[in-house]
């Protein structure tokens, strides 16, 4: 959080959606706006800037969750960010190509995202550039596969 106090204490959902799209215009689009919820689609080049802007200018103090999705033809990272002043939650989905699974880390913006990114790395093989310690967390260190990808079949799964 910034100390300059130039962030907006309790922005409305329309304000958040309008403000973020105006600043990061071609790289981010609003998918849906609902009461206390804003859903964005974002390019992976812009995600670090968007997250920094949300924290510093719009008072999003916490990264609730970072998770990966395997869509078979591409991977996806989904961020859920919380604002404590008005209960708004922002969801940002970022597509990541299969052959170059890199994305900028937000662990230095919100420390709460640290373990979520490590978990996404070990389960999906998405590499977070700039993460302070990108190692396997839940699975053994000697695993050489990513168990939550769709190519890893469970018993009884086609």
């Amino acid at each position: 959080m910034v100390d300059t106090k130039d962030f907006i204490e309790a922005p409305s959902v329309e304000h958040i959606a309008g403000d973020v799209t105006r600043v990061f215009s071609p790289n981010i689009t609003v998918r849906k706006v609902a009461p206390r919820r804003v859903h964005f689609n974002c390019d992976r080049e812009a995600i670090h800037g968007v997250c920094k802007y949300l924290r510093d200018a719009l008072n999003f103090e916490q990264a609730s969750s970072v998770c990966g999705v395997d869509w078979v033809d591409h991977l996806q990272v989904v961020y859920h960010l919380s604002n404590y002043s008005n209960g708004v939650m922002v969801e940002i989905t970022v597509d990541v190509p299969n052959d170059d699974p890199h994305i900028d880390s937000v662990a230095l913006i919100w420390e709460g995202a640290d373990w979520h990114e490590r978990e996404t790395y070990e389960l999906f093989g998405i590499i977070f550039d700039g993460h302070p310690k990108l190692e396997r967390l839940l699975t053994p260190q000697n695993y050489e596969f990513f168990p939550f990808r769709k190519s890893y079949k469970l018993r009884g799964q086609q």
Partner: protein
Amino acid sequence: MADMWITMGPQHPFSHGLWTLKIRADGEIVKEAEPVVGYLHRGWEKECENRTYPLIIPMADRLCYSASMTWAHVYCKVVEEALEVELSDRAKYLRVIADEICRIQSHLMWLAAMGTDLGNLTIFLWALREREFFLDLNVKLCGQRLTTNYPRIGGVRNDMPYLFERDCMRVVDRFEKVMWEIVAMMDGSSIFLSRMRGVGVINRKDAANYGLTGPVMRGSGVDFDIRRDDPYCNYDQLDWEVAVSKDGDAYARYAVRIEEMFQSCEIIRQAMVKLKGLPRTDPVRFKVPRKVPAGTHFARLEDPRGESLMYLISDGTDKPYRLKVRSPIFVNVSASKHFVEGVRIADIPAIMGTLDMCLGETDR
């Protein structure tokens, strides 16, 4: 003095489950700490991709044995959002009552475990004795003590049984009286106070940034409770207060949980009154389709330990494409290195005890 690495865990009296806290100590002072988890990782989210939607409810119970009601609730809630089902008022208040019973018994389990860590063996017996009354209410309502399997997609499994309201009110009234005795015993003990006050201090800014939620975050002065600020299940129609403390130390987290138990009693009492005013014909459960339309949805609610969030991707079949669980303790324990840096080794059980560890939901 030379630094020394000490491995506390995976089997250690303070750990309350299988996890390890590696600390680098210079004499008595902790210089650096590194939590290690993953002993219980069983691929819960991947397992769900192989099961139909109703089959996941009992699995969600087993994420955490003492918060089974809220975990099954958040799962049902996210599927209901995907199906666009609005519950009946009766089902909502039944869920509120079940959730608050779950919150009280979970906090009592924490109180028993933490008191024992600090050498107070009496509180272990007292808290578990009180907890047993709430587990009996669970048996009456759901047929099970811990893994209750009570919420359903579209409502709850059954209405209140005969005389449940009378029993519930008796337990709550009795519990509030006994709680004052417990508070007097804890707060009257100078050993307890000296071990809890001023250790493990986290300020407001850091609490939000580290991703802390629930009583741990409110103990640091963040005035946020999902039940009030992002309301669900008619919590906004009940009159109660969010427990917040500004001190940020271990005692503040203890005080927040104690106050939350009193507030839960108040919520149960009011929800019971509201429930009595509803017609008996109000259904407790709607029939829902087996297949969930394609889309992405998330739902969050206030777990006894913090914010539990589930993110569901459905692809139009009767099984989820992806189900992500955001566990509050997973994030809280990742911040444990900040809690213990600079404290003495003997303070670690007092500090980590106030996090209310649960490894089933941490490792998933």
